[in-house]
């Protein structure tokens, strides 16, 4: 039992905006009142629900590939030495599993959503997530380039496609559906991309990216998944891709979707020399589509590594930068590319990218729909979130940063003209309450009675760098105090959220022969065994509507 007393509470899901009151915790949940137990004196602090990262890459084959591709980054990464209750590891852009848990918790984040898992490497992903301590986890299955599924969509066999999606989700033991560059990664296997929404995908007669987007969003809705289709739009990273992104919004025909790392999909101009911010146009279209949520995918200047299933874009980025490039082919499911990258403040394109991420967060009026991410590690490490929050909360500081950008960049962005400053209440929405709601995690992101007792307690005054939220004074996870006075004191295990959709079990009779013909492994070795997922919290979904 635990009582947090004297802190100023920000709990947007329950409309609590800066009220001094107690938070009581018993058996890992927030309760109305407790008798006895420990009391944390939180006087002079701000108390928020533990952060929820709606889009990050922290486990699985792609991350490991990135770790292996960049030994030079591992050498200089922050070292985590083993202690009596903590495991050793490395920080940096692709932190090792244990360090990932410590870094998230050490910043006050307690739930993370690993956004890209192919079935073929789902076992590996779950094993890494099992070794990622403290935080609760969910992960999303890459489906928009799964060739078995695309063949069914091409043939118009929607019901069978729905059963296949249901079967695959349960086989991978995941929480939701991710669509990366729909059709584009399948086309990449022919050396092509799919950047036009209404042109057939290479290798198909009729099937277009728009049909994949709408078809998959429909299946996700029919299966009743708590998180909408998580969509990485086509034509990522290219100047003028605003048009593609808006077409994608229209192609969804009002169905639910979460648009991931929208910053990378919000560029105007025609080519690299005319590239400018398209954030205002994107926000305008986004606000006309209340069916959508999004995360910013903001970039910060400095080192990053781009890790994505979007193989064709990664090849393009390798050619643009000359940096090293890794490419993986994941059989009939997806692909993967890795390119290390440095965002430079003297580089006009990078400066525009930096501004676009912040503009999206500042121009979107409703913070319940646009969340804070860096698409870790693509736009910068997740441990740099406090830097973005500082930029959102302080217009004067932000303008000073804008003035340091190259003039050519300043004329292509609107960031300098935005006066909005985020309040702590709004920060609590974009970091916790909003993402939790979008993920359909009803016990996360708030401090009402019955919520999971995930609480982050920060000093109310900024640190020497002017940042709030860098070093929480306390972090409580599931009712246990894991961070105290800015140090990890106790390590607990997190659980994993998994959905079990309702599907016709006979679909295996269809899948088995197709699979045995196309894959290099046996069908019986394909699915993840339930016992491989530690502390799974399985949500059974109703019969499809």
């Amino acid at each position: 039992m635990l009582r947090i007393t004297g802190g100023t509470i920000y709990d947007p899901a329950n409309g609590v905006d800066g009220v001094v009151r107690d938070v009581c915790i018993a058996a890992g949940k927030v309760v109305a009142d407790v008798e006895g137990g420990r009391t944390i004196d939180a006087t002079g602090t701000i108390v928020l629900p533990g952060g929820v990262d709606v889009h990050t890459h922290v486990a699985g084959g792609a991350l490991n590939f990135a770790r292996g591709l960049m030994p030079e980054k591992q050498r200089v990464a922050r070292k985590f030495l083993r202690t009596a209750d903590r495991r050793g590891g490395l920080g940096g852009l692709t932190p090792t599993t244990f360090a990932t848990g410590y870094l998230y918790a050490g910043m006050g984040w307690t739930t993370v959503n690993e956004a890209a898992v192919p079935v073929l490497s789902a076992k590996h992903t779950h094993e890494e997530l099992r070794d990622t301590p403290i935080v609760d986890k969910s992960c999303l299955l890459l489906l928009a380039n799964n060739e078995i599924l695309l063949d069914l969509l091409e043939a118009g066999e929607v019901e069978r496609a729905r059963d296949v999606v249901g079967w695959l989700l349960w086989a991978a033991k995941v929480y939701g559906v991710k669509a990366v560059n729909p059709g584009g990664v399948a086309a990449w296997k022919w050396g092509k991309n799919a950047s036009v929404m209404h042109e057939p995908v290479e290798g198909y007669e009729k099937l277009t990216p728009a049909m994949i987007v709408s078809g998959l969003a429909r299946l996700v809705d029919e299966l009743g998944l708590p998180h909408p289709m998580h969509l990485h739009c086509n034509n990522l990273g290219n100047p003028g891709n605003v048009a593609t992104t808006i077409e994608t919004m229209q192609a969804l025909e009002g169905r639910r979707a979460h648009l991931a790392h929208l910053q990378f999909h919000a560029y105007g101009g025609e080519n690299w020399s005319t590239m400018r911010s398209g954030a205002a146009e994107i926000v305008e279209a986004f606000e006309r589509h209340p069916n959508l949520t999004a995360d910013a995918g903001a970039v910060l200047f400095g080192d990053a590594v781009t890790v994505t299933a979007d193989g064709p874009w990664q090849h393009m980025l390798h050619q643009l930068t000359g940096h090293k490039w890794g490419n993986l082919d994941v059989e009939n499911e997806t692909g993967c590319g890795i390119v290390p990258y440095v965002y430079r403040d003297r580089h006009v394109v990078n400066a525009v990218q930096w501004a676009v991420g912040l503009e999206l967060l500042l121009l979107t009026k409703d913070p319940w729909r646009m969340f804070l991410t860096t698409d870790h590690p693509n736009g910068g490490g997740f441990w740099r979130y406090p830097e973005i929050i500082q930029l959102l909360m302080d217009a004067e500081f932000r303008r000073a940063q804008v003035r340091r950008l190259p003039e050519a960049a300043q004329s292509r962005i609107v960031l300098g003209e935005i006066d909005r400053e985020y309040s702590v209440y709004e920060v609590a929405i974009i970091t916790a309450a909003g993402p939790a709601r979008a993920l359909g995690l009803t016990r996360k992101g708030h401090l009402g009675v019955g919520a999971d007792a995930d609480v982050a307690i920060y000093p109310s005054k900024p640190d020497a760098d002017g940042r709030l939220f860098t070093y929480p004074r306390y972090v409580v996870k599931g009712g246990e105090i894991v961070v105290e006075e800015g140090e990890i004191r106790q390590v607990v295990d997190g659980r994993e959220y998994v959905v079990r959709p309702a599907f016709d079990a006979a679909i295996e009779e269809y899948l088995r022969p197709v699979f045995q013909k196309l894959y290099t492994i046996s069908f019986d070795n394909y699915a993840v065994e339930p016992e491989r997922v530690r502390d799974a919290e399985i949500r059974d979904l109703p019969e499809p509507s």
Binding site: M70, P71, E72, K73, R75
Partner: protein
């Protein structure tokens, strides 16, 4: 002056990046003796392995067979490090200034990713002299490495600037993926010299097997060779540059990349 004498031969490698003038220059005798080193996986004090004399100096001498001592002079920026005997791997890695003098042989990764200073080896060196560590985009970015004896594989791999001179023969892949700088091979090299080089100059005073992706371009006496010759003559290495003695045959490559590097092969008159 600080004098360190190895007490007895080491059974396993010793990691000792504290053996550097930067670390020791301001330390009193007791503090130097207490500096941490790693013998295998065990943490030890400097005086567990070395007999220590002197204090507060940026002239450091190491005596004994230190061929199992790694990371000596790591990142040093000043002073003088003299090794009377052999040194182990990574000697002078990341160094930015000062001078290292070795009377015996050294291990691999001598002066890897160094950015300045001088390393002088009287004996033989291992492989990856002045090279980039695995994964790094570039190797040494400035400074000079002079080796009287032979050297191993991948000498100057991905080096960007600076000079490496080797008196004896070097093994395969000298100047691999070289990005700039100068490598002088006084006794030639084994195979695939200059493979994937983008820019930079490899000078060989002996004929060497040439990759098919290098094309002969000219026979001449480049002016800059006089500067290279003067620089190296001060360090005891004679390099011919005068027209009366001969000329350099210039090959360009590596066309496989394609690169704009050059290999100059000396032809005496």
């Amino acid at each position: 002056m600080i004098r360190l004498v190895l007490r007895e031969p080491l059974p396993v490698p010793l990691e000792a990046e504290v053996l550097s003038p930067d670390v020791m220059a301001t330390l009193a005798h007791d503090a130097i003796r207490a500096l941490p080193v790693f013998l295998g996986k065990h943490r030890r004090r400097v005086d567990d392995c070395f007999r220590v004399e002197g204090e507060k100096s940026d002239e450091v001498t190491i005596e004994g067979d230190a061929s199992r001592v790694k990371w000596i002079g790591r990142g040093m920026s000043r002073g003088r490090l003299t090794i009377a005997g052999n040194a182990g791997m990574h000697l002078g890695a990341y160094m930015s200034g000062g001078a290292i003098e070795v009377s015996g042989d050294t291990g691999d990764w001598l002066g890897a990713e160094m950015s300045g200073g001088l390393i002088r080896v009287r004996g033989n060196a291992g492989g990856q002299v002045g090279a980039a560590y695995r994964g790094s985009p570039k190797g040494m970015t400035d400074g000079t490495i002079v080796i009287d004896g032979t050297a191993g594989l991948e000498v100057g791999m991905r080096m960007k600037r600076g000079t490496i001179a080797v008196g004896g023969q070097v093994r395969d892949f000298a100047g691999l993926q070289m990005l700039g700088g100068t490598i002088v091979l006084r006794a030639g090299a084994e195979l695939r010299t200059g493979a994937w080089m983008m820019r930079g100059t490899i000078v060989s005073l002996e004929p060497i097997p040439m990759l098919p992706t290098f094309a002969p371009a000219a026979e001449y006496n480049p002016t800059f060779m006089r500067l290279v010759a003067r620089h190296l003559s001060r360090l005891g290495h004679r390099v011919p540059a005068a027209e009366a003695e001969g000329a350099y045959l210039r090959y360009t490559g590596d066309a496989a990349v394609p690169g704009k590097g050059e290999i100059l092969v000396w032809r005496p008159r």
